[in-house]
């Protein structure tokens, strides 16, 4: 009789589906939802483009030199992110914070370059409701998709700066390891989405 009472008090048995960290699972579920959002945007982009008779050539209109550099920058910031986590795992909080800062800096430069690119394109006539090269939806989809991604990068920079403070407030490096790893998941996801956006909206 007491057997059952004891069993109901303990945590549910571990199954292969029990995650190491519930926080990590939470972030993955959020990212999966976000991925569906981006997937929907890109699918809609493909649909509008395929059914349009006068879709401009993105490569010719947008130019890819600056965007290629931005892609490279985001990949670099992903590397500084994993380095921050690695240093935290090695017990060096100061180095981890430097790399977190470099990651945030990379993101900030990315958003700045995007703002520069946008103002340049707007100046040349690319607007959300029309452009000189063809289908008006080209500008609409461009600004919505890159803008949605840019907002994610901006949010990521704020998140990273907050995490520098979070690491500072915890003397034990191990105490902030899991939270920094979860931050990394978000940041790498933003990088992953940009890889897709760069391919589908600039190169294709």
């Amino acid at each position: 009789m007491s057997q059952a009472a004891v069993h109901s008090a303990v945590e549910p048995a571990e199954t292969p589906l029990t995650p190491d960290s519930w926080g990590k699972l939470g972030m993955w579920i959020f990212l999966a939802g976000d991925a569906v959002g981006f997937g929907t945007l890109l699918a809609a982009y493909g649909m509008m483009r395929a059914t349009s008779g006068d879709w401009p050539n993105p490569y010719a209109v947008l130019g890819i030199n600056l965007t290629a550099a931005m892609t490279f920058l985001l990949i670099c910031s992903s590397v500084t992110m994993v380095k921050a986590l690695e240093w935290l795992g090695n017990g060096d909080r100061a180095k981890a914070k430097v790399y977190l800062f470099l990651t945030a800096l990379g993101g900030a430069i990315f958003v700045s370059l995007q703002a520069y690119e946008w103002s340049h394109l707007i100046h040349r006539g690319l607007h959300i409701n029309g452009n000189p090269w063809g289908a008006a939806l080209f500008g609409t989809s461009f600004f919505i998709v890159t803008g949605f991604h840019g907002l994610h990068v901006t949010g990521g920079v704020i998140y990273l700066v907050a995490m520098i403070r979070y690491v500072s407030n915890r003397p034990q490096p191990a105490a902030s390891y899991n939270a920094v790893e979860i931050t990394g998941l978000y940041w790498h996801f933003v990088d992953l989405v940009w890889i897709m956006v760069f391919t589908f909206m600039y190169l294709l």
Binding site: P16, L17, T18, P19, D20, S21, K24, L25, W28, I29, L31, A32, G33, A35, V36, G39, T40, A43, G46, M47, A50, T51, G53, Y59, I64, A68, T71, F72, I75, C76, S78, V79, M81, V82, K83, L85, E86, G89, G91, P173, A174, Y177, N178, E181, G184, L185, H188, F189, D191, L192, I195, M196, F198, T199, F200, L203, L204
Partner: protein, 108 residues
């Protein structure tokens, strides 16, 4: 659980990503068909995304739960494309018909 899993060689992944990006830029200048370029670019982008998810996001070293969560949007996105295809073909067909009607000389 400070270092629950071993860290992969991040610099190697970085170089793979950088090289794949250069290959992508090279592909669009190659003198091959547009469809081939499109397929190549999609494959390269998927390869890069897989590298980021597997190594930077540690998916390779994670439990099955996280793998299932990560694959779900991919399945949904694939289904979405198939759901959109019929409408897409219908619109393209309509546009082509309208064009043909406009260019056809009026019947007497």
């Amino acid at each position: 659980m400070a270092t629950a899993h071993k860290h992969p060689n991040y610099m190697a992944i970085f170089w793979y990503l950088a090289i794949l990006t250069v290959v992508e830029l090279g592909v669009i200048f190659m003198p091959i068909g547009k469809v081939t370029i499109g397929v190549l670019l999609c494959a390269l982008a998927l390869g890069k995304a897989t590298l980021v998810a597997m190594y930077f996001m540690h998916l390779r070293f994670e439990t099955r739960t996280l793998g299932l969560v990560a694959v779900t949007p991919l399945v949904i996105a694939t289904l979405l494309v198939f759901v959109l295809l019929p409408d897409g073909f219908a619109v393209v067909h309509q546009t082509a018909e309208k064009k043909a009607a406009a260019t056809e000389p009026p019947k007497h």
